[in-house]
């Protein structure tokens, strides 16, 4: 069935990335930071050094494996923060309307007007490099689409019979939002969240590439690319393997998002039943 293909490929790629990240200590051949040995500097990929080694003689394969931890942590956690902020703001704005809706709308438009990477850069510049500031910077800058979707879904769901019925049956506002509105908009929110994880992985790579994310010597895919920049002609494997890891993870997340949209879309769901 065509519907499931992208879902399965996406899920497998994403699951693979998570498994690699979780099992990194067992999968890695050497310590990604400490095991530098100038005797093995800039070895091309071989049976001993699967992905080659860098100028300090560190095993690129081990570094890519450990890099999955940071890249995925940033992707998942920052997108989770984005989703929570976006849903809370969008749902309450759509539900209550009035001045609160105006405030949230203004804030969303503001966020959409500022390029989110530039905004994240500014936050990173204030907070300084590191994992925590990376999570904060990316978690605060990408909620506007989720917020828009949540607000639009709320506006259309609000007039549904069951939401009206809940009010007639004596449900309070919070209970209506949590039991009636939230579960019914979860489909698009999950899809947006999955796609957002992909862009968060990319954003982490960009920020680390610019030197504001994860600082060397700790491996993240973005910081590895950043370090490999100078040797891209002499030792291309330094760029190729972290780049490939980013590519496959983001591709997997996008395919997963598309696949989820297909099964969570109420119309395609009713087609199957």
């Amino acid at each position: 069935m065509k519907l499931g293909t992208s879902l399965i490929i996406g899920a497998v790629l994403f699951a693979l990335a998570i498994i690699v990240g979780v099992l990194a200590p067992w999968l890695a051949h050497t310590d990604p930071v400490m095991d530098a040995n100038l005797m093995n500097a800039e070895e091309p990929p071989s049976w001993i050094w699967w992905f080659g080694t860098d100028a300090q003689g560190r095993d690129i394969y081990s570094r890519v494996v450990y890099g999955a931890r940071i890249s995925l942590t940033v992707g998942i956690v920052s997108q989770l923060v984005n989703s929570i902020i976006g849903v809370t703001l969008g749902l309450s704005a759509g539900y209550f309307g009035g001045w609160w809706d105006d405030v949230v709308n203004g804030l969303t438009n503001l966020m959409l007007a500022i390029p989110s990477l530039i905004f994240a850069l500014a936050i990173m510049a204030v907070l300084g490099p590191g994992l925590t500031s990376l999570l904060i910077a990316l978690g605060l800058t990408n909620w506007s689409f989720t917020c828009r979707i949540a607000r639009a879904s709320t506006l259309s769901l609000k007039s549904q019979g069951y939401v009206q019925a809940a009010r007639v049956l004596g449900y309070g506002d919070l209970r209506i939002m949590i039991t009636q509105l939230l579960p019914n908009m979860l489909g698009p929110i999950i899809v947006i969240g999955t796609l957002g994880m992909g862009s968060a992985v990319l954003a982490e790579a960009s920020l680390s590439f610019l030197g504001l994310g994860i600082r060397p010597p700790f491996p993240s895919w973005g910081s590895m690319l950043s370090e490999a920049r100078d040797q891209i002609t002499t030792a291309p494997w330094l760029s190729i393997f972290p780049g490939l890891a980013i590519f496959l993870t983001v591709l997997g997340l996008n395919l997963l998002g598309d696949g989820l949209r297909d099964i969570l879309d109420p119309q395609s769901r009713s087609r199957r039943i």
Partner: protein, 326 residues
């Protein structure tokens, strides 16, 4: 009868805020429902019966608002209650079921959970107890295999089953008044009869009063002891349902009665056409002056076009509003 009536509506006026001006969508509506009584509100679409019901549970929203009059539930004025007190009445003391059982249930929640939520919300039960009570509630509305059905989602149930679930939700907390807004309009005729029967029996067992709202005079007269006929925002006649077919007093009611097909009469009278009421209901913004039925009324005279008729009391608690009532 001692104490105040269960619900008493006095001279209710509901305004529609149409931008620059306000128009009365409902005007001068008064009726009372005693405990355990069955009362029907009949009228064409747009005559104001549904917004009257919304006003009863305090849920009119902009652009509609109660402009004058009072609605008292057990003597307490509903508009004066705090929001939390109103919310506590809704679902607990006054429940409502709707025309569309397809859309009135949350599609992503099992029906048992939706019933159980009422016990958690209004009776402070734990989820475990509430789930047990929900299965009992499903059994009481005669849903077969209630334990299995409780885990079903709304889309897995037929229209009739969904309306049964709605009734179970509405009656879960043992309300004093059940407002049924066109409860069977969306259902097949055979299912309709079952649902009406079920609703009537359950309410009679529990002493729940029914306010039934419908365009179907025959159905309402069948369920309710008394019937109020609304036209263009006003009540034009209130009668006992046994009298309404024999001796209705208002020309509009007569028109409704004449437009109902009746078994047997066709054979007795030969091939006769059903009679309809000429014309359409006027829009809220341009209700005619005087008696609002006058443009469609065969008996209309000069006074009907200028003066709104006063309420005339009939024997047996009935009333009529017509200049030509003898």
């Amino acid at each position: 009868m001692t104490g105040p009536p269960l619900i008493e509506v006095e001279d209710l006026r509901i305004d529609l805020d149409a931008g620059s001006r306000r128009v009365a969508a409902v005007e001068g509506v008064s009726f009372r429902i005693e405990r355990g009584e069955t009362f029907g509100l009949v009228g064409e679409s747009g005559c104001g019966k549904s917004i009257t019901a919304l006003a009863l549970i305090g849920l009119l929203r902009h652009p509609l608002s109660v402009a004058a009059g009072a609605i008292r539930f057990e003597g307490r004025e509903i508009q004066r209650l705090a929001a939390a007190e109103q919310r506590d009445l809704r679902g607990n003391r006054i429940a409502m079921i709707f025309q569309e059982p397809m859309t009135a249930l949350n599609p992503v929640s099992p029906v048992g959970r939706q019933i159980a939520e009422m016990f958690v919300l209004h009776k402070g039960k734990s989820w475990r107890e509430a789930n047990q009570l929900a299965v009992e509630a499903l059994a009481s509305v005669r849903v077969p295999a209630p334990e299995r059905r409780a885990k079903d989602y709304p889309h897995q149930l037929s229209g009739g089953m969904r309306q049964r679930v709605m009734i179970a939700i509405a009656l879960a907390c043992g309300p004093d008044l059940l407002i049924a807004d066109e409860p069977t309009t969306a259902l097949d005729v055979t299912v309709q009869a079952e649902i009406v029967e079920l609703m009537r029996n359950l309410c009679a067992e529990r002493g729940t009063a029914i306010l039934m709202i419908s365009h179907d005079l025959g159905l309402v007269a069948n369920v309710c002891r008394r019937v109020a006929v609304m036209y263009a925002g006003r009540i034009v006649e209130v009668r006992g349902s046994d009298e309404i077919f024999r001796a209705c007093a208002h020309p509009y009611t007569q028109g409704l009665v004449d437009s109902l097909p009746r078994l047997g009469t066709r054979a007795a009278l030969g091939r006769t056409r059903l009679r309809e009421i000429a014309g359409v209901v006027p829009a809220i913004a341009d209700f005619p002056s005087g008696c609002r039925f006058n443009p469609r009324c065969a008996q209309a005279t000069e006074i009907c076009r200028t003066t709104a008729p006063e309420t005339a009391w009939l024997g047996g608690g009935g009333l009529v509003r017509c200049h030509h009532h003898a």
